[in-house]
């Protein structure tokens, strides 16, 4: 290796050095600890731990119905988010991108839900969904359908969907901001030229916007999946996983194992399984992203 080449490599490494150092110190160490602890049975306090090899993983995969329920629940919310939430975010981004009146107002307002503290979100939505005096039920009576009233968060048929609505309400602001940023990066002339040539909005959207926005779409969908699968503060604020296990999600199960039943090793094994799941989903999404961008 020549000196200039070495120096070149050195400066390149300097670019990534701070990130890698921080990563090694603050992420790698807990990472390794989690892997290490997952093969023990430990209550989180006492100095003795019992080595149980893969027992924790076996329990999680074969004997813990609540774990699979929680994954299924998180999956349902994620699918809803990927479709409705991102669709809404896209529609709003498109509208606001096109110089509509009051767009500054909308831009700030749509970002309010993510900013609001979890406490306020919990209080307000508990009130909206409340079974006896909630706003939603009042509204249904107003619309002339009192028979549709129910305890939205306590009824097993609607609890999960109610929680999903809260999550989507809180989450679309992010998709909106990122999609808007992506749309704004598309040069105006392309759309203008096509419009002048008489192209319909749909044509412009499908032939110009979508191909240019594909990387952003994938980015948003990966972030949506990661963010939604890890949902938990909304659950704790509204249903605490109930009724029964109907709104349990992976993170609440991990917390229950960690603090509720003091099975730290088991919680770590759940964390690893969950991480592997998320990793594989993300890998698939990223492969799809690369494949589609090469195709277009």
């Amino acid at each position: 290796m020549t000196w200039p080449r070495f120096r070149d490599l050195l400066t390149t490494y300097l670019f990534v050095a701070p990130a890698v150092i921080l990563f090694v110190v603050f992420s790698l160490f807990p990472f390794i600890k989690v892997f290490q602890l997952s093969v023990f049975e430990w209550d989180g306090i006492s100095p003795d731990m019992k080595f149980v090899w893969l027992e924790n993983f076996k329990t999680a995969l074969f004997h813990d119905k609540s774990w699979w329920t929680s994954i299924r629940n998180a999956g349902v919310i994620t699918v809803l988010a990927l479709t409705f939430q991102n669709f809404l975010a896209l529609v709003l981004a498109l509208i606001v991108d096109r110089e509509i009146k009051g767009k500054n107002f909308y831009r700030v307002v749509f970002y309010l839900p993510p900013v609001l503290s979890g406490i306020v979100v919990g209080l307000v939505w508990n009130w909206i969904f409340d079974g006896s005096h909630g706003l939603l039920n009042h509204f249904l009576v107003f619309l002339g359908h009192p028979e549709w009233q129910r305890a939205w968060l306590a009824d097993p048929a609607t609890a999960l969907y109610s929680v999903s609505i809260i999550h989507m309400w809180k989450g679309f602001g992010w998709g909106f901001v990122i999609l808007l940023a992506g749309l704004q990066a598309i040069p105006r002339e392309l759309g203008e030229a096509a419009r002048v040539d008489g192209a319909s909005e749909l044509y412009i959207f499908s032939r110009i916007t979508v191909p240019l926005m594909l990387p952003v779409f994938f980015l948003v969908s990966i972030l949506t999946v990661l963010g939604t699968m890890q949902i938990f503060d909304i659950i704790i604020a509204t249903t605490n996983g109930g009724p029964g296990f109907h709104t349990e999600v992976p993170i609440t199960r991990i917390l229950a194992a960690m603090l509720g039943s003091s099975r730290f090793g088991y919680a770590c094994s759940l964390g690893i399984l969950f991480g592997l799941l998320l990793l594989s989903i993300s890998m698939v999404q990223m492969k799809l992203s690369k494949w589609s961008s090469r195709y277009s």
Partner: protein
């Protein structure tokens, strides 16, 4: 060419506009409603806050804001939160953008592996990592220090930051950078003067995201800090949330005060998100 002159097109345009506005307004009211509830609750008393749930307040207690500020010791905590937010956001932007630029534009051995390793932390939630982190900070002597609070949070924002910025850097056309290289700029100058300005929208998104995370952070602060003078704003809000009694009006007032800076930041940043950069730069 005058498509607007035709009545049909005119009706279609206006009805589209009406639909667009209708959608926006509906969603906007759903977004604003909790905020209005929060503000109206902050002006009520503990007694009326739930017995009188309407948005209109007949006897507004403006003193709640003053009380929230003083009892929550907001002055000190506000300054701390501002400091932490600025430093963490600044740290994340600088460190993540440099790393993302390297992953995107520079070639070096182990590039792909390192990238996957770093962003995989985004995907593996580490339960109880707080306790492991505490043990680590204790070993490093960083307990009860500002640095011990800031560094883990910078690290926390890196995975997403690198991922986001790499995506944006990948999208940028090479021409500008090549031109700069030909002009004799070294890697760092290309990064600073060409790539970064073009990535303003992504940086703005990152700034807002991390600022929000730091501003709302609480658990790490409880673990790391003992001295009250180092605590962030969320600690002040905790004063109103007792084990059994929650002083709702004061809490709402406190929360209202606390979201003003974040909204201000977003307001400033979203101009950059909207800036629309390469429009003029790449005309062949």
């Amino acid at each position: 060419m005058n498509t607007m002159g035709n009545t049909f097109y005119r009706i279609r345009h206006w009805s589209r506009l009406a639909v667009a506005h209708a959608i926006c307004l509906t969603v906007a009211s759903a977004c604003v409603f909790p905020l209005m509830w929060m503000v109206s609750s902050s002006l009520k008393t503990q007694r009326t806050i739930f017995s009188d749930p309407g948005l209109w307040v007949s006897n507004p207690q403006w003193s709640n804001y003053y009380l929230a500020w003083t009892r929550g010791n907001f002055g000190q905590y506000f300054f701390n939160s501002l400091l932490y937010t600025v430093l963490v956001v600044g740290g994340v932007i600088i460190i993540a953008s440099m790393a993302a630029y390297a992953f995107s534009r520079l070639k070096f051995p182990g590039r792909n592996l390192l990238f996957i390793l770093v962003i995989s932390t985004m995907m593996i939630p580490i339960p109880g990592s707080f306790i492991a982190l505490y043990v680590l900070l204790n070993k490093m002597g960083l307990i009860d220090t500002r640095l011990g609070y800031i560094l883990p949070q910078i690290n926390g924002g890196l995975a997403l930051g690198i991922f986001l910025l790499k995506t944006f850097f990948d999208k940028l056309p090479q021409d500008l950078e090549d031109a700069a290289r030909i002009d004799g700029c070294n890697k760092f100058q290309v990064y600073m003067h060409v790539a970064m300005p073009l990535a303003k929208p992504a940086i703005a998104v990152l700034a807002v995201f991390n600022a929000l995370a730091v501003w709302n952070e609480y658990l790490l602060a409880t673990l790391v800090f003992s001295r009250p003078e180092l605590m962030p704003l969320q600690k002040g809000l905790m004063v109103f949330q007792g084990a059994h009694i929650t002083e709702y009006p004061l809490l709402m007032a406190g929360i209202t005060i606390s979201i003003i800076p974040i909204l201000t930041l977003y307001f400033i940043m979203q101009r950059y998100i909207v800036a629309g950069i390469t429009a003029g730069a790449i005309k062949t």
